[in-house]
């Protein structure tokens, strides 16, 4: 068929196709080199990059923000937004703690909390899909409502806003003798004496699973199409509404995971848990190449974005000669710079 004179080649155009995470790969290299240089100058290179406690500091933060960023990036690719993620961490933590304090077995309390948060995601999704309100607005409402409801419940039942479940967890956090099955699942650090908090391992596993789903399954295709051009997607039979609802459920479930992990490892649920984390997760997704307009981005990029965020965020503590407040300035510039770079890369793909 190649002999047909009417066959034309479209392969020559834009061989140099860019992946969405290209920008964040550069970003990560730059941020690592920057902080390696800065810590060398201040003589803290070893403390940040070689010392287990130093490494823990930024790896655990990257995992925490990264887990949320997985949800944030999936939603952004589908053209949606979840501002309530951080608040839902507190809601999950409090719900779990309240169940436990009411004497519900821990296994059951975990299941109930996941059901509750998944249901919340379902409600958010249905509101967004049915009303056509921007998810920014809908989840802004839940940004207030989730944390407010959590604290209201704990005030009502226990007359305090911070709930300790130390006495109910067996063995207590930090105890270490005879870990239960639940410890094995939700607090490996206790169970196996491994150096990192459990979220680090969840993070690694989730990244692989979600990256695979987004790139290699029909569902992944539909996520991109739902954000790219929802009308067109529907016209070819993509269940756009269901895809979006499911993503809100994933987002609230990830917040739930973090909420429960935090309580399991610290022994208490704090009403301020997860405060502002939704913005950090969205920052990570933006740095990682997700377009706010939907249809473009990658989970791997968001994960690299979380790593960039965490290294910059924790690294600044190892560089005493730079004011801590300057960190926010730097982070702001970093987000702006990444967004510009990503937009440039994206335009190259379409305009050819």
């Amino acid at each position: 068929m190649a002999s047909d004179e009417r066959i034309r080649d479209i392969g020559l155009i834009r061989r140099s196709i860019s992946r969405p995470e290209l920008g964040s790969v550069f970003g990560l290299i730059i941020i690592v080199i920057t902080f390696m240089t800065l810590t060398s100058i201040s003589g803290t290179f070893g403390a940040m990059w070689l010392n287990p406690i130093g490494i823990q500091a930024w790896v655990e933060l990257a995992a925490f923000v990264g887990i949320l960023a997985i949800g944030a990036s999936l939603l952004m690719i589908a053209g949606e937004f979840d501002l309530s993620m951080g608040a839902n961490i507190a809601l999950a933590g409090h719900s779990f703690a309240i169940f436990v304090l009411f004497g519900v077995p821990i296994e059951l309390a975990i299941i109930l909390t996941f059901i509750e948060l998944a249901f919340l995601g379902f409600i958010i999704g249905v509101i967004v899909v049915r009303t056509g309100l921007p998810s920014f607005i809908v989840t802004l409402a839940f940004w207030f409502a989730s944390r407010g409801f959590a604290v209201f419940l704990s005030q009502t039942f226990f007359n305090q806003s911070r709930l300790s479940v130390k006495a109910n967890l067996k063995p207590p956090p930090g105890g270490g003798e005879d870990p239960t099955l639940i410890d094995n699942i939700f607090a490996f650090d206790k169970a196996f004496g491994v150096p990192f908090d459990a979220e680090v391992y969840y993070f690694i596993i989730l990244v692989f699973i979600v990256a695979f789903i987004t790139n290699r399954t029909p569902y992944g295709n539909w996520i991109y199409a739902s954000g790219g051009d929802p009308v067109a997607a529907r016209a070819v039979g993509v269940p756009v509404a269901r895809v979006k609802i499911s993503l809100f459920m994933i987002s609230t479930s990830l917040a739930c995971l973090l909420g429960i992990l935090t309580v399991m490892t610290s022994g208490a649920s704090d009403p301020k848990a997860g405060d502002f984390r939704e913005l950090h997760a969205i920052a990570a997704a933006v740095i990682g190449g997700c377009a706010l307009t939907g249809g473009y981005g990658s989970v791997v990029g968001a994960v690299l974005g979380a790593l960039i965020f965490a290294i910059a965020s924790r690294g600044i503590n190892f560089v005493p000669f730079i004011d801590n407040n300057l960190f926010r300035v730097m982070l702001g510039m970093l987000i702006l710079g990444s967004a510009l770079l990503n937009q440039f890369l994206r335009d190259r793909i379409v305009k050819g």
Binding site: V231, A232, G237, V350
Partner: protein, 254 residues
């Protein structure tokens, strides 16, 4: 021969607006039916009835002689009606293959069978005269004409035996218009597909049309095969026949 599609006295009302009134016409397989008419004549409404977006207010639509009653675009698609909308319903940032199979992906277990889908995409595009060297390229890199071809190839591959093209050349430059006309001719040569070709361009209609239907203000002004229609009279018919004559007398009376 039984027509692939037959409209019998079909009307469509939107509230008090009469978009289509008592429409009757036939479409045959292996033929290109050019559907012509001025802006607002009801062309898009007519194909929306056919593709399941709207439901007729009166009359019936017959598919190979059988009355059909589509309640959703999905039903129309599974009955073999492929519509290529003016905006094509493509995802510019997704790859050629992913666009081709969007919503109807081939899987191997849980996962996408990318090699197979890439091969099929290349093959189906080649049938219509476009060699896609790299089907993993985002579709945003293709020309308008090539995208149009992709949308057509996709409709055919997924079993369309009636292919509706809503102004496929209107948004394109001269060269790409010709490319699309060539593609449409190739589809016709496949032999078993009925093509409804909506256009404002009488040249294009003349080049490709086997049958013609002229819509004006919601009614069929004229309908027939190449032999039955005065080919030199396309332009006035498209603009609404009698009205144009009236205008001519008005102008000449100056």
């Amino acid at each position: 021969m039984i027509p692939s599609i037959e409209f019998r006295g079909v009307s469509k009302f939107f509230g008090n607006i009469i978009a289509l009134k008592d429409i009757s016409f036939k479409v045959f397989k292996g033929e290109i039916t050019a559907l012509l008419g001025d802006n607002g004549a009801g062309k898009s409404t007519l194909i929306k009835l056919l593709s399941g977006v709207h439901i007729p207010s009166e009359g019936e639509i017959l598919l190979s002689g059988e009355p059909v009653n589509f309640k959703s675009p999905r039903q129309a698609v599974s009955a073999g009606i492929g519509t290529v909308y003016q905006d094509l319903a493509l995802q510019p940032l997704m790859s050629v293959t992913r666009n081709f199979f969007l919503g109807r992906e081939i899987t191997k277990g849980l996962f996408l069978n990318m090699p197979l889908m890439n091969t099929i995409t290349k093959k189906e595009m080649a049938k219509l005269g476009i060699d896609v060297a790299d089907p993993t390229q985002p579709i945003g890199t293709m020309s308008g004409g090539q995208r149009q071809t992709l949308a057509i190839a996709r409709a055919i591959y997924f079993g369309a035996n009636v292919l509706i093209l809503d102004e496929p050349t209107s948004a394109l430059g001269q060269k790409q218009q010709l490319e699309v006309l060539r593609t449409i001719k190739k589809v016709k040569e496949l032999g078993d597909i009925a093509i409804i070709f909506i256009t404002h361009n009488d040249m294009h209609a003349k080049l490709l049309g086997d049958r013609f239907a002229f819509l004006n203000r919601g009614k069929v002004l004229a309908e027939g095969s190449r032999d039955e229609i005065d080919m030199n009279n396309l332009r006035p018919l498209m603009a609404g026949g009698a009205e144009l004559e009236k205008l001519e007398t008005e102008f000449s009376g100056r």
